[in-house]
Symmetry: C2
Subunit: 350 residues, 2 copies
């Protein structure tokens, strides 16, 4: 594994700004002391934080950027106002120029996607990028994509997502042939999911060596961890992701309320505190922080805007692992391979 | 409120068949002793169960039906095989013929929808029916539709769903002007959600007296209970519903595992048992069992297939409340009212 990786950081992104970003980098340096950073942001804000974390400062090159993208900017505004000169743009551009291997930002999702697409362009053979999230399951973790880079997807795009998701699974988990499921709804013979059925037929026929196509899965298979990679178009994927987050919070609230209602419950809570701590850790959204923008000429990681330094560190490490495990060349090779198989299948059919 | 309601029951539907259905009816008779039933199913299977519940038998007319729809039948198969003669069809037909006020089935969802549409036809002014679920939230309950009757919806259909959802909210909850939100994704300026934006503009402009249009909501607003009615097309709605169910199960598993790992945790669990019981009750899916098929010339309730008698009783009571509170005439009046407003708005715009 390459220990000389350089990571570009958008220091102004997220709800808590540089404190989270630089603090996260500092945590990662404990575990990966050889990492280098290029950091982009406003000198007046980022400078003092870097001074507070001398180890990060010493491992970094800092670039002062006068423009910062706010969480409220619309993607088009952000692009107009921040192209070429905002910290977010320049952090992405560092990947394009080869100054960094991967870019991490906790900033405005829409702006980050728009700028990443504009700056890095899509990888050869890919119609459009997708955003992939890591989903905690009963048995471990799965990858779910697209969680909101695009709305709608035709059969070919769902197949592309499947190929990219399988490449990401192999870069993230320790196995060669991840299982892939297409998200569908229980009701059969409904109109409008032809794209999903067509994608399923294509994947089944292609018999790719790099994935094990499982078939359709439903919303409740996400939490079960039925497959390693769940593929869907971005509208449903985004709603599924946020619904799960909301449900987890809701049940956490119920639990908190139940445990503080009576003296017996409070006493029970104290006795079982270790168990509750384990549960909290298990449900900790920081542990799986970071969504990967797949299909661009460069890897960009979106951290949750509201995360803390520990969560941002997880996003940095995710980015590190993606490039250290050759995500992009895996995608490139798999897409090429699929195209060849497809041409062969079409000849055969014709 | 009318105490002379008659409810038609598909006794063969669901994973546990007549035991659940008749058992559920028996529970409801405790609370609503004046209720009447018409029950459809196979004599050999249903007869003995009715004998075990003489109170239900005495409040019912039973019809022997030789054909039953299985949970595996595809909607088209079910329609071909079971039209006119299956228990499911005849339970729906009882509503059409005026022999019953509402039909409840725990059977095959796709078959129930297909038969209901075919038998009852859509209400005047409605393009197509939608399935509405009751969603437990941090603050109470919301209504979510469409959870899978159709895939995709244009702006006009989303407005129809909003009007139907608001009518259902007024029939279910005790207030006159429920708040309505359109489910959307966080990323702005994405393509493909024009239908949602257009529906939002229509609802905002129409200023209906029967609803308070809130604007867009995201997946995590479902659990928060941000609005009383959440409207979305059926693919995303179904995935959201199943994702939430799956997440709740997953966290329940985590909790169970955490509470049985150590002796201290087990002791704490015993002390706090009352609190855990409350939590279990709060998360009990049986309490909110029953989805309403909206927009047909008759009310049909889909009970969860895997529920027990207590859950089926909740579905019966939901059906009872829907007809007792005049769901269909509310929808009819609101749709008419909306059409008039729309014509006025269009004249004004022209």
């Amino acid at each position: 594994m390459n220990h000389q990786l350089t990571i570009s950081l958008d220091a102004m992104g997220g709800d808590h700004g540089p404190e989270t970003v630089i603090g996260g980098a500092n945590i990662v340096l404990d575990r990966k002391p050889d990492l280098k950073f290029v950091i982009y942001g406003e000198q007046a804000v980022v400078g003092p934080v870097l001074d507070a974390y001398p180890r990060v400062r010493d491992a970094s090159v800092f670039h002062d950027c006068e423009i910062s993208i706010s969480m409220e900017d619309k993607p088009s505004q952000a692009l107009r106002r921040g192209r070429y000169k905002s910290g977010m743009w320049r952090a992405i551009e560092a990947v394009k120029n080869g100054e960094a291997n991967v870019c991490i930002s906790a900033g405005n999702t829409g702006a980050l996607m728009a700028m990443s697409k504009f700056c890095l362009r899509t990888q050869s053979g890919i119609t459009r990028p997708a955003m992939a999230a890591i989903w905690p399951t009963m048995t471990g973790e799965s990858i779910v994509l697209d969680v909101g880079a695009n709305v709608g997807a035709d059969a070919d795009q769902l197949v592309e997502y499947s190929v990219m998701g399988s490449a990401m699974a192999r870069a993230l988990f320790d196995f060669d042939r991840p299982s892939i499921g297409l998200l569908n709804i229980g009701v059969e013979e409904v109109k409008g999911v032809e794209s999903v059925r067509e994608a399923g037929a294509l994947l089944r026929e292609a018999k790719l060596e790099t994935m094990n196509y499982h078939g359709f899965v439903e919303g409740d298979d996400l939490g079960k961890g039925t497959v390693d990679v769940v593929v869907t178009e971005g509208f449903a994927g985004n709603i599924a992701l946020k619904t799960a987050e909301g449900t987890a919070k809701q049940i956490g609230e119920y639990l908190r309320a139940a445990m503080s209602r009576t003296i017996l419950a409070k006493a029970g809570f104290i006795l079982a505190k270790g168990a509750f701590d384990r549960l909290r850790e298990k449900m900790d959204p920081r542990k799986v922080n970071g969504a990967v923008l797949l299909g661009l000429n460069g890897v960009v990681i979106k951290s949750h805007g509201g995360t803390d330094a520990e969560g941002f560190a997880a996003a940095i490490e995710l980015g590190h692992d993606m490039v250290a495990n050759h995500l992009m060349s895996k995608i490139e090779k798999d897409i090429e391979n699929f195209s060849e198989i497809r041409i062969r299948l079409e000849k055969h059919a014709g």
